[in-house]
């Protein structure tokens, strides 16, 4: 399995999804070799990585997940510009890594194919574009079926301004795959429309959430009793719609000033968002926490009276499930995969800031609404269990392995047939001769 990131080093839903899925697959006795790039940046916090690895190795539940890390400055959610920037920063590595994003991805692919050879796998499963060239190489090397799992397309990440290099890599991966997994019908539709892939090649497998037994020491959390908290948690990129969150916040505050808007996350739009808050004159009512990890995330969710996911284009939206799992009601963008499968949530079009503000105000004002959303949402989210998507993946693997066997058998039959034919010809020739 090829991924970009794996907890605790992760910056988005992709890492969370890979973690949940592999853990659930492992429970079903699937052996996994998980290949991730290990960046220079995470080298500085290598103790965390090592820790994670040790932890995984010690924990018997993960005994058949092997993590393979490949040195590369590739990092999740990277763009061509990001790559140039990172490369410039660490110029002493310049001979080691590719000249541009494309080259680096190809270089990475060359290295990883060796792992594929050694691992003796039955299926290759790759998560999102960064891993596709590596996965394609692995497929060529091992002649094993390839599954590409689309957690987000370039169109989602860039709000319809795709980077050509990344788009090409995505499309190639989808073309060369034996099966594509999309995290929602919303994403499936994008794949059909933008990448010209036939619908029957795509299976939809919705994500799930890990239900930890969360014990919060709520009493330790100090929150002004009259102030309500509305939370945004996600990367500060154009995809996640933090700007719409601010526009709605402005409208809310005009009617109810006792609300604190918390923005948790970092990203290329961070300074822009901070400036926007100032420009809207609500800076004193908006708190930026930066990027949160681990327990802080759960703590933040449970502090909030409402979690808002205003994404412009969200293939799934695991954070929604995490919020509900932490007993926090959610207001989500209709432009998301999770809104296909989640009922007990408020939903809005991301651009409809009036409705967004309207619904935020209602949750803060009517305790009955808050409780109903919270309790029913929690009941519903319990059913989103990683074993379900894992089961679907296993079915897909089985079909592919079966098909692969048949193909190989046919090939051998063909070879035998052609051998047989040539024998016949020889015989005929012989008989002619005779």
């Amino acid at each position: 399995m090829f991924g970009w990131e794996f907890p605790p080093i992760n910056s988005g839903g992709l890492g969370t999804a890979c973690y949940g899925l592999t853990k659930a697959l492992n429970k079903e006795n699937v052996d996994i070799t998980f290949v991730v790039p290990q960046g220079e940046q995470s080298n500085s916090s290598s103790h965390l990585n090592l820790l994670a690895l040790n932890k995984l190795e010690d924990d018997s539940t993960y005994k058949s997940i092997k993590i393979k890390k490949i040195a590369s400055i590739l990092k999740p959610y990277i763009s061509s510009q990001d790559y140039k920037r990172i490369k410039r920063k660490g110029d002493h590595f310049s001979t080691l890594y590719g000249n541009n994003l494309h080259e680096e991805v190809q270089r990475y692919a060359e290295i990883t194919k060796k792992i594929a050879e050694q691992s003796n796998c039955d299926v290759i499963h790759a998560h999102d574009w960064l891993t596709f060239p590596a996965a394609i190489k692995a497929k060529e090397e091992t002649n094993k079926p390839l599954v590409v799992h689309i957690h987000a397309t370039e169109f989602d990440r860039t709000a319809d301004h795709p980077d050509q290099i990344i788009y090409d890599i995505e499309k190639e991966g989808m073309k060369r795959a034996d099966k594509i997994i999309a995290v929602s019908n919303f994403t499936k539709q994008k794949i059909i429309e933008h990448y010209g892939i036939p619908a029957d090649k795509i299976a939809v497998v919705h994500n799930a959430v890990e239900h930890k037994s969360r014990i919060h020491n709520i009493h330790n959390i100090h929150k002004k009793s009259h102030e309500k908290i509305v939370l945004f948690l996600g990367r500060l990129t154009v995809q996640k719609g933090a700007d719409y969150f601010l526009y709605a916040a402005e409208k809310v505050l005009k009617i109810n000033p006792n609300v604190l808007f918390v923005i948790a996350g970092s990203g290329d739009m961070e300074s822009q968002i901070i400036e926007k808050a100032a420009e809207l004159n609500i800076a004193n009512k908006v708190v930026f926490t930066g990027f949160l990890t681990g327990k802080d995330v759960d703590k933040m969710y449970s502090l909030a009276d409402l979690y808002v996911m205003p994404s412009v284009s969200e293939p799934f939206g695991i954070t929604t499930l995490e919020a509900l799992s932490n007993d926090t009601p959610v207001l989500i963008s209709k432009q998301s995969g999770v809104s296909e499968v989640l009922h007990h949530a408020l939903k809005v079009d991301f651009w409809d800031i009036n409705q967004m503000a309207n619904k935020i105000l209602a949750v803060l004002q009517y305790p009955e609404l808050y409780y109903n959303l919270k309790i029913n949402g929690k009941k519903e989210v319990i059913r989103f269990n990683w074993q379900i998507p894992a089961g679907k993946c296993i079915d897909i693997y089985k079909d592919l392995i079966e098909l692969h066997k048949l193909k190989n058998e046919q090939k051998t039959i063909k070879i035998k047939k052609s051998n047989h034919n040539s024998n016949c010809i020889n015989k005929k020739n012989k008989s002619k001769r005779g």
Binding site: H344, L346, K347, N372, L373, N376, E380
Partner: protein
């Protein structure tokens, strides 16, 4: 002898428009005229007009041996008047045959009884007057919104002078007994100065099995009786002969052409079923008032908790089952005294249109995930949206109440000032004289 009593409910709510917090105090247009018009016309064409025609033909064809009752809510009537007046005309034609009876209900198809008897009675009177004015017909039989019923309600309706009331033949009330006999409800009748047992209000119980065979199961291909033919249905009716006196078939009129589409053959069924039933000499159709006049009470039902004809539970949970529904209900009705005091007719009318039970039904969260009948007839994407819209509107209503009271006070002041001025002028005059 079996008497078959058919009653059809005709109702359309005034659906609300997408009213946000930013409309409060700025805009008091609550109802979605466009959507209501669209739905009203659609249902008129798909259901009311073709079904009325079939019923009229049946009455003529059978020389009045086929007959049926309707209960038409005021909200539906108003919308017909606005958007499809031809529907009212076609009901008038039915009324002229004398083979059709109109029942009494709350004009606003409301849950008012659950909050205030005073408000409840007012709405019944408004409806009664509308029936008199439009059809020249004074309803004598009562049916409460969604067949909501209990002992106390029966007693109260009796005190209003009705001879019969309709109710759901719910299993947990009947405990294995037949719904096909006239019942009375178990209440102490001395308050109504009615000591004679036989004068108690008669309860007509819906035979839900035979009713729902048409209303819900007719087009269900998974059902082992599918396809349901008129002959088969008539044979079920004939089988009851000897085991019952009255078969009450109660259903939404929208069953014909709207819930069950024309392509399912529902109209053909409606045309043939009465003819098939009438082939048996012991069967006859009767109106609820005829049933009440002819049949004696044979049994008593004891209903403490409210029953209704909704969902499997047959209780109030479709409208008041969760916290948001109860909260919206409470907020709405706690305005009663203040809003009546404003004497603002338009404001009161709009407040009453918000009482229509459908608004609470839309907020129902049970079965929400299964996408069943609640969702199909729901103009909202979610029950939470229904709640938010409704509560926003109540906020605006509150502002209007306050303004109306201020105006009333000001007018009172002006009048008093005027009076004082007039009086002082009079005094002046006297002085001059």
């Amino acid at each position: 002898m079996v008497n078959i009593c058919m009653y059809f409910q005709v109702h359309q709510p005034f659906r609300l428009r997408n009213y946000t917090v930013f409309d409060i105090g700025n805009n008091s247009i609550y109802f979605d005229a466009k959507k209501n018009e669209e739905i009203c016309r659609k249902v008129a064409n798909k259901c009311y007009l073709p079904a009325n025609k079939i019923i009229l033909d049946l009455i003529k064809q059978t020389n009045g041996r086929f007959r049926a009752a309707f209960s038409i809510s005021g909200c539906a009537l108003e919308q017909f008047h606005l958007y499809s007046p031809e529907v009212i005309q076609s009901f008038r034609e039915l009324a002229k045959t004398g083979c059709v009876e109109f029942l009494s209900e709350t004009y606003y198809h409301s849950l008012a009884y659950l909050h205030s008897k005073e408000e409840f009675v007012k709405q019944i009177d408004i409806h009664k007057n509308a029936m008199l004015k439009i059809f020249g017909h004074c309803p004598k039989i009562f049916r409460n919104t969604e067949l909501i019923f209990n002992n106390e309600l029966a007693k109260f309706i009796e005190s209003l002078g009705y001879t019969a009331i309709l109710a759901e033949g719910a299993d947990h009330i009947l405990n294995g007994r037949s719904p096909n006999f006239i019942c009375s409800a178990n209440y102490n009748d001395t308050d109504n100065n009615n000591t004679n047992f036989s004068n108690k209000i008669k309860v007509l119980l819906k035979n839900y099995k035979l009713s729902d065979d048409i209303a819900f199961r007719f087009s269900n291909r998974e059902w082992k009786e599918w396809p349901l033919t008129a002959e088969k249905y008539a044979s079920w009716i004939n089988n009851i002969n000897g085991n019952g006196e009255v078969i009450n078939l109660f259903m939404d009129y929208e069953t014909f052409g709207e819930h069950q589409w024309e392509s399912t053959g529902i109209f053909e069924f409606l045309k043939q079923m009465p003819i098939e039933i009438l082939k048996h000499p012991d069967n006859s159709f009767m109106l609820p008032s005829e049933i009440a006049a002819k049949h004696e009470i044979k049994d008593t039902i004891d209903v403490h908790n409210f029953i209704s004809w909704a969902d499997i539970e047959r209780d109030l949970s479709a409208w008041l089952g969760n916290q948001i529904q109860r909260s919206a209900f409470h907020e709405l009705y706690q305005l009663e005294k203040e809003i009546i005091a404003t004497n603002d007719k338009r404001l009161i009318h709009e407040w009453r249109k918000l009482q229509t039970s459908d608004h609470f039904y839309y907020m129902c969260t049970k079965w929400f995930e299964d996408g069943d009948v609640h969702k199909y007839f729901n103009p909202y994407e979610s029950p939470y949206d229904a709640f938010i819209t409704f509560m926003n509107i109540l906020k605006d209503i509150k502002i209007r109440i306050r303004k109306a009271n201020e105006n009333n006070l000001r007018e009172k002041d002006i009048n008093e000032n005027k009076k004082n001025i007039d009086e002082s002028e009079e005094n002046n005059k006297e002085i001059i004289i």
